[in-house]
Each structure stands twice: as C-alpha cells, then as structure tokens.
C-alpha cells in the first residue's frame, strides 16, 4: 500500500503531471493562457507518430510475439464489452437518459492515447519493458465501443443510426491511421530507421508530452468550469469506478494470455482510459441528441486526470503483484 502511495507520489511530481496540473489551475483561474489549436494538433501528431514508430521498432526487434493475436482479440473484446458494463452501471448510478448513458459508455470502451503514452513513460521511468505491439492494440480498441453504444440505443428502441460512411470515417480517423501507419514504418525500418530519427522522436518526447498535457489541463479545466452542475455525484462516481473495474478485468485477461508485466499494465491503462477525440466526434454524428458536455466532462474532466495521477501507478502496482513482475 505505502508502496503504491510512494509510487503515486513519485508519479505526481513528474514534470508531465505537474504540467497538466498547471493547465488545470490556469483554466480554473480563468487565465487567458491557451495553446493554439494548430500547435496542439501538431503535438498530438508528433506523439502518435513517435509512439507508433517506437512500437513498430520494438516489434521488429523482438519479432511477432505469439500472444500478439490473442492480445488484439482481447483488446477488441474489451472495447466491445466494456460499454455494456458501463451502460448498466450508468443506468443504476445516474439518472442519465438512455441516449446519454450509451454515449458515455462508448467513451469508456474506447481508449485515450495520451493516457497510454503517459503509461508507457511511467514504465520507461521504471525501466519496465512492454510488448511493442500494444500500440496496435490501442488502435484496435478505438472503434468497436462505438458500435456497442449504437446497439445499446437501438435495443432500447432509440434511433441512433449508423449514418452511412460513419464506420469508414471511424476506422480511418486520423489518429488510427497515423498510429498504425507509423507502427508499420517502425516495423519495416527497424533500429536503422530509429537511429535516423531518434533525435526527433525519442529525446524530446517527454518534453513535448509536458506541453501537450499542459494543453489537456487547460481544456479539461475550461470544460469543468463550464459544466458546473451538469454532473451529479453519481456520474462522477462512475467516472472513477469504471476505470477501476475495466482495469481489474484487463489485469485478469492480460495475465491469462501471458503478457509481460509492462504489457499487462498497458492493457489495463487502455481498458481504464476513455476517449475524448475519436468517440465524441462520432457521437455528434451518430447520437446528436446526446449531451456533449456530459460525456466530455466525465471523460476529460474526471477519468483522464484520475488515470493520469492515481490510476496508472495503481495499475502498475496491481500488475506487479499479480504477475509477480
């Protein structure tokens, strides 16, 4: 326990987390500090490219691990399944409408790549290796949750429709394409390729992540300020409870399929994290009646900070106990 706390402590005073906190405070204090949208988008492109590329290089080095397929399937199953669990919880814990509950569920079945990146950098900090292909798993987990959510709505007689072309849009959304694409580039060019560009995608990575999290903090803070009162205590409780449940399920699955400790941690992080880019956009198209400030506030304002600060070290501690790694 104390070990977890010290771990969390260490984690909390890292430049990354403090940058996020700075953004959060600045926004809550109504400072006019903003990071231009183009720069934020540029940084996220950088992070996706770097994380994908490094994952690919790792795979090219250690080869396609036998558990790769299993892990991919596990990820997809989680992404399909978790929303149903989330939906049930929401209907019990909150007064959200079917539509809103379904929209929120989609977010929790999908993933947050920044949380994933934060997880990997915590592992690096402790020199714990993880399967390189976890980034591929991350990509695979983005979309399925959206289908589950639409199914949940249809089931309850709602008319959330899979608008034509939406599926293509989701599967080919920029972040998935970039993540998978750079993963393959890394896998093909391997260490030789990494050598050429490591001064760009490895060394400055942590620093860019700081500025990116500063922006995330600003956005989360502005969101929280504007959605005061939108959320009941039940909803907030859900946003903390759900990641814990998802992570617990993931630790079991991850250990069963024999992932390394690092791999288990990342699978937990993926399961516990919730989307705030791909899914919200898809929801605006597929479930326009759902209230954006509900799912954005829960996902970005509550779950994301929770995972970033307490969640990740907790998942790491659990994984180490379970896998004995």
């Amino acid at each position: 326990m104390t070990e977890i706390l010290s771990l969390a402590g260490e984690n909390l005073i890292s430049p990354i987390i403090l940058s996020f906190a700075l953004g959060l405070l600045a926004a809550l204090a109504r400072s006019d500090l903003t990071i231009p949208e183009a720069v934020a988008k540029g940084m996220s492109i950088y992070l996706l490219f770097a994380i994908g590329f490094k994952g690919g290089v790792a795979v090219s080095a250690h080869g396609i691990d036998a558990t790769l397929i299993l892990t991919l399937i596990a990820g997809i199953v989680l992404s399909f399944g978790l929303p149903i669990l989330a939906f049930a919880l929401l209907r019990v814990m909150t007064g959200l409408s079917v539509i809103d509950a379904a929209a929120v569920s989609a977010h929790y079945g999908s993933i947050s790549i920044v949380t994933f990146v934060a997880g990997t950098s915590v592992l690096q900090g402790r020199l714990i290796d993880a399967e390189g292909y976890m980034v591929a798993v991350a990509a695979a987990m983005e979309a399925p949750a959206i289908l589950s959510a639409l199914w949940l709505v249809a089931r309850s007689g709602g008319k959330g429709s899979m608008a034509p072309g939406l599926m293509r849009e989701i599967l080919l959304n920029g972040s998935i394409v970039l993540l998978v694409g750079s993963f393959f580039i890394g896998a093909i060019t391997g260490d030789e390729g990494l050598e050429q560009i490591s001064a760009f995608i490895v060394s400055p990575f942590q620093g860019v992540l700081c500025l990116f999290l500063l922006d995330m903090g600003l956005i989360a803070g502005r969101g929280l300020r504007q959605s005061k009162g939108v959320l009941g205590i039940g909803a907030i409780g859900f946003a903390i409870l759900m990641p814990l449940i998802s992570a617990s399920i993931a630790v079991v699955i991850g250990t069963m399929i024999g992932l390394s400790t690092g791999g288990v941690v990342l699978l937990m992080v993926l399961a516990a994290s919730s989307s705030y880019i791909a899914v919200p956009a898809a929801m605006r198209v597929a479930l326009p009646e759902a209230n954006p400030s509900v799912y954005l506030t829960l996902s970005l304002g509550v779950t994301f900070p929770f995972n970033l600060t307490l969640g990740i070290p907790l998942y790491l501690a659990i994984a180490q106990t379970v896998t004995g790694g």
């Binding site: 990071i35 995330m216 600003l218 956005i219 956009a281 605006r284 198209v285 326009p288 209230n291 970005l300």
Partner: protein, 102 residues
C-alpha cells in the same frame, strides 16, 4: 455595374457534420459554397472556443450564394443535416456579379 439577385445562405454547424452538409448540398445541386473557420460561439448549448477543443470538435460556417429559385431546395437539404444538430441557418438577400457562376 450589372448585378443579379441571389440569396446568401449562412449555415453555422459543428465541424464533424461539415462533410455531411457539403455532401447534402452537392446532392441538392449546390456546387458553390465557401467554408469559413469559426473561432468560438455561444448558443443554447452553451459557450465554447476553438482553443478549448480537442480533435475535430468546434464549428464551421458554410456560406452559399444561390439563385433565389433554388433557395428552398438548399434549405431542405441543409435542414435535413442541421435539424438534429447544434447550429443555425440564416438567409439574406444579395446581389452577385457573374451570374453564370450560380
């Protein structure tokens, strides 16, 4: 200078719907439009600013100049998309040069 009467339709809509709107317009035979970025705004669903957004969120403004007789077709096409969504549609009378373009 010789000008021709036209309608100027301005549609403010959430960015994720942009492609659907322009597709609908094209289907309705409206091939001319200009898309302006939107920095922020306020409406029944509250305030927001471009900087306070992640990913594809935010709004855009689509401006169409068309012949008056084609207005209804456009509005129906646009409304079918905007209906369930956040956004506004406004129309003003206008004069245009080079009618051949409309």
């Amino acid at each position: 200078m010789e000008t021709h009467t036209a309608k100027r339709v301005e549609i403010v809509i959430e960015a994720p719907l942009e492609r659907r709107l322009t597709d609908a317009l094209t289907e309705a035979g409206v091939t001319g439009y200009t898309i302006l970025p939107v920095r922020g705004g306020s409406g029944r669903s509250g305030k927001w600013t471009r900087e306070g957004q992640v990913g594809r969120a935010g709004m855009v403004a689509v401006v169409c100049l068309i012949r008056p007789e084609r207005l209804d077709g456009l509005l129906e096409a646009a409304f079918a998309v905007v209906e369930k969504h956040i956004g506004v549609v406004s129309v003003t009378d206008a004069q245009v040069l080079r009618a051949e373009r409309f």
